[in-house]
């Protein structure tokens, strides 16, 4: 562990050597292995780490919500001068909500769907016997106003599903703030949100900080953290690898893992560079790269798609989208949820029929022809989804999935077996993964299998629909690197869909920005994302929290063979 930052003033929270384990004492799994930190009022501590690092458990310890089978030990666990180590359930309840507010990731899950939003906030007040009914009602409106919810009187009477994602998350923040807690714990508060909404929520959290509450922010997103945190702890495998003031950590990261984590973030600067410290090692085998050709591999003109909603009203989800994708090129489509990106992908794949416009694949008509005529040519265009698990038949092993993708090719049965091995090698998996079921693989490995399946029929185009959105940043880096390698080796084209501007900028040669079904801006990715002209793109780019990168202009040298890195991102 590195030096501890010295805080001035009285600490609100003091944690020393915190250890949390799960399971029965004999076969305990230790999830948090002795972390120490402190926090002063009005300051924000961010705990950064990937899934399974123990960051959420650490935060939950502070509200006594680690669960029944957990064992919490600490040399010191003090909040506002009070020892938290041996509290009863009842004592914890008096702290939760009143002294410590807790904001969870997904407001749609953590808010009661059948309860009006106002009632939800009122509940927090009522539980702690705050004021009378009339005063509480006023306070609810006041709180909603405080977190920037427009028309608070109306919203208070609505139920969570009637609100947009951003409003819901703000309602959740309002209920966490109801009793003016001294400490607010925010566990991935913006993870499920669009970038513009994320910006609003971050503004709210900043406001909380300004009013003197301390914040513990749990996040995997370094950019979000760099905007809000005063101190950052990088957590890995239950330990703080690095614990330093924010500015220091981002400008001079000490630990290799921190450096790899920062280097793994895709952005404008990372274009053309590798994001992960892994090296490419494989043979192409019997696969031959596509030859260059001048005809666009995929071309769309004036695509329109309408859906009939449950209320009987027709909505235009995709409205006049045109694009053209050349051999070996990556075209990025970026936009917020509901902008029509995925529908555009389905139209490009001819999995949905357009209500207007057309698509051509390798110069030949692709829409407006019967499925029978398309079937043989489907091998030229493949798809990789966000959630690979649902795209595999749950009964099938990896081998079955890959063999299935080879059906219809000219390979003989024995050649197909060889080819499965080649495909696994191509995406960096081993032969031992053949007989596993996707359920038994990690998220990154699953996405590799999905990519291998897409490569099976040797397509010219792969449509990638949010292929890395569900992955941790270091795994995301590996998958993005893999896609880049495959493109340079095989000359495959990508139609790459993402909500993440950094990812889009990293991978794309050209970018389409979509909003409400329309393409609002298109051009080279630098033009669109560095010099946006359309107000929507400008708003999108401005909402993105910028990460202060290490001051050295070139990327930090990453020791290739360092074992700690291997463990960290492997």
């Amino acid at each position: 562990m590195t030096d501890r930052p010295r805080e001035t003033g009285r600490d609100l929270l003091k944690v020393e050597n915190l250890r949390v384990g799960f399971g029965d004492p004999r076969a305990q799994t230790t999830v948090v292995k002795g972390v120490s930190f402190d926090l002063a009022p009005g300051k924000c501590l961010a705990i950064v780490g990937e899934s399974g690092s123990g960051k959420s458990v650490t935060a939950r310890t502070l509200v006594g919500l680690t669960g029944g089978r957990s064992h919490v030990q600490a040399d010191r666990l003090e909040f506002d001068g009070r020892d938290l180590r041996h509290l009863s359930d009842r004592q914890w309840r008096s702290i939760r909500g009143k002294d410590v507010g807790f904001i969870l990731q997904d407001a749609l899950v953590s808010l009661d769907q059948l309860r009006r939003v106002g009632k939800e906030i009122d509940e927090a007040l009522r539980l702690h016997k705050w004021g009378d009914a009339r005063r509480r009602r006023e306070r609810v409106i006041e709180l909603l106003e405080l977190v920037g919810v427009p028309e608070p009187e109306v919203r208070a009477r609505q139920r969570p599903y009637e609100l947009s994602g951003g409003l819901r998350q703000r309602a959740l923040i309002a209920s966490a703030l109801a009793l003016d807690p001294k400490l607010v714990i925010a566990d991935e508060p913006t993870t499920a949100l669009d970038v513009t909404v994320q910006a609003q929520v971050l503004d709210q959290l900043e406001e909380i900080k300004r009013r003197g509450s301390a914040i513990i922010l749990i996040s995997h997103d370094l950019a979000v953290v760099s905007r809000l945190a005063d101190t950052v702890a990088v957590m890995h495998d239950g330990e703080f690898l690095e614990y330093a003031p924010s500015r220091e950590l981002f400008s001079r990261p000490q630990h290799d893992y921190t450096r790899a984590l920062i280097a793994a973030i895709p952005s404008a600067q990372s274009r053309g560079a590798r994001l992960s410290p892994t090296e490419r090692r494989h043979k192409l085998g019997s696969i031959t790269p596509h030859e260059r050709s001048d005809t666009p591999v995929l071309q769309a003109d004036g695509l329109v798609k309408r859906f009939r909603g449950p209320d009987g009203v027709h909505r235009t989800v995709v409205d006049g989208v045109s694009f053209s994708l050349a051999q070996g090129e990556t075209l990025g489509i970026v936009g917020e949820s509901g902008s029509g990106k995925t529908t555009t992908a389905r139209l490009a794949l001819a999995l949905a029929a357009p209500d207007g416009g057309w698509v051509r694949l390798a110069g030949q008509p692709w829409t407006g022809i019967p499925e029978r005529a398309r079937r043989d040519r489907r091998r030229q265009i493949a798809v990789v989804y966000q959630d690979p698990l649902t795209s595999f038949d749950p009964r099938w092993s990896v081998q079955q999935v890959l063999l299935d993708s080879l059906s219809g090719t000219s390979y003989s049965p024995s050649q197909r077996q060889t080819r499965v091995g080649e495909l696994l090698g191509l995406v960096g998996l081993e032969d031992e993964h053949r007989l596993r079921r996707p359920l038994q693989l990690s998220g990154g490995q699953r996405q590799r299998v999905a990519i291998a399946r897409a490569l099976g029929p040797e397509p010219r185009v792969i449509v990638c629909d949010e292929p890395v959105s569900a992955l941790d940043v270091s795994i995301q880096a590996q998958v993005l690197d893999l896609l880049a390698d495959l493109q340079s080796e095989l000359g495959v084209s990508y139609l790459f869909i993402s909500h993440d501007l950094g990812v889009i900028h990293h991978v794309s040669d050209r970018v389409l920005v979509m909003s409400e079904g329309k393409v609002v801006e298109h051009g080279s990715s630098d033009d669109v994302l560095l010099r946006p002209t359309h107000p929507y793109t400008q708003k999108l780019v401005a909402s993105l929290p910028a990460l202060e990168r290490p001051s050295t202009p070139e990327r930090p040298p990453i020791p290739q063979a360092s074992p700690s890195i291997g463990v960290a991102v492997g």
Partner: protein, 292 residues
């Protein structure tokens, strides 16, 4: 989490070398359930091997005797050995249970897949038909059948089969719809597979998956239904020792000789429970030990 637990105290672990993995993975409950099923299957095939008495021989000097070593389930009002009657009744009851479930599932697969895959008008028509069937209580349907065809095992099988078919149909239709919308079906379409291949390789097996457990449950349920019919005197005519008929016969003596109700009842419950346990185990094994 690792499945291997540590050995408490100083007990030396028994050598596992001789025991194959699949045996070690069996759970005691599953073993017990399998034994129970094997016992009843034996009772179906060669009841004379397990029975202690002739199920039909009347002994008026030993009527309504409580369970004892000579009559482990006791005797009925005619002095017949109840245990032997339960053993001999297994054939009828199992036949009814399997037959009725078979008919129900058969109908359900045809209707469920037709309605789920075709959609539109076909779906609408089948749905209305199923709803009409649903509106008829199984008992009423059975009454109708018995009234028309007379009480017999065959009538009972058809009546219970028809009565329980709508439930299975609904379930299969729902499964088909869910699987049809799944990511892997879309992936298969994107790979260019034909509709027939997708139905055969993805939709059919995945939609049928939950059926394994439901069917084992259903066999037990059908036996219970048939017993219910027999209890009302609408089942297999006496003196055949069908389980439901045994329950029916014991009804008049429930206060003096409760074992006449309890023993056949326990047989039905234990058998149905064992089927379910084994069914669930099979399903878990089919899915690679992972329940989803």
């Amino acid at each position: 989490m690792s499945a291997i637990s540590q050995h408490p105290s100083g007990l030396a672990p028994v050598s596992t070398l001789a025991v194959p993995t699949w045996v070690r993975r069996l759970r005691p409950g599953v073993i017990l359930a399998t034994l129970v099923i094997a016992f009843f299957v034996l009772a179906v095939i060669v009841p004379s091997l397990l029975a202690t008495n002739n199920p039909l021989s009347i002994n008026l000097s030993a009527t309504l005797q409580a369970p004892s070593w000579s009559h482990i389930f006791g005797t009925d009002a005619s002095g017949r050995d109840l245990y032997s009657r339960v053993i001999y009744g297994a054939r009828q009851s199992l036949l009814i249970g399997l037959g009725a479930t078979g008919i129900a599932v058969g109908i359900a697969i045809v209707l469920g897949f037709a309605s789920g895959l075709a959609g539109g008008i076909v779906d609408g028509v089948i749905n209305r038909f199923v709803e009409v069937l649903f509106a008829f209580p199984v008992l009423l349907l059975a009454l109708l059948f018995v009234a028309v065809f007379g009480p017999s095992a065959k009538t009972e099988i058809i009546a219970v089969g028809l009565g329980t078919a709508p439930g299975y149909t609904r379930m299969i239709r729902g499964q088909v719809l869910a699987v049809k919308d799944s990511g892997y079906v879309e992936s298969a379409r994107a790979l260019g597979h034909s509709y027939r291949r997708i139905v055969r390789r993805h939709i059919f097996p995945n939609a049928m998956r939950p059926l394994v457990v439901i069917v084992t449950l259903g066999v037990g349920q059908s036996i219970v239904w048939a017993s219910g019919l027999a209890f009302l005197g609408l089942g297999v005519p006496p003196p055949a020792p069908e389980w439901g008929a045994l329950l029916d016969a014991g009804r008049d003596f429930v206060t003096q000789a409760s074992w006449l109700e309890i023993m056949p009842g326990v047989a039905i419950v234990v058998f149905a429970l064992s089927l379910t346990t084994v069914g669930r185990y099979i399903q878990q094994r089919l899915e690679g030990g992972i329940t989803r």
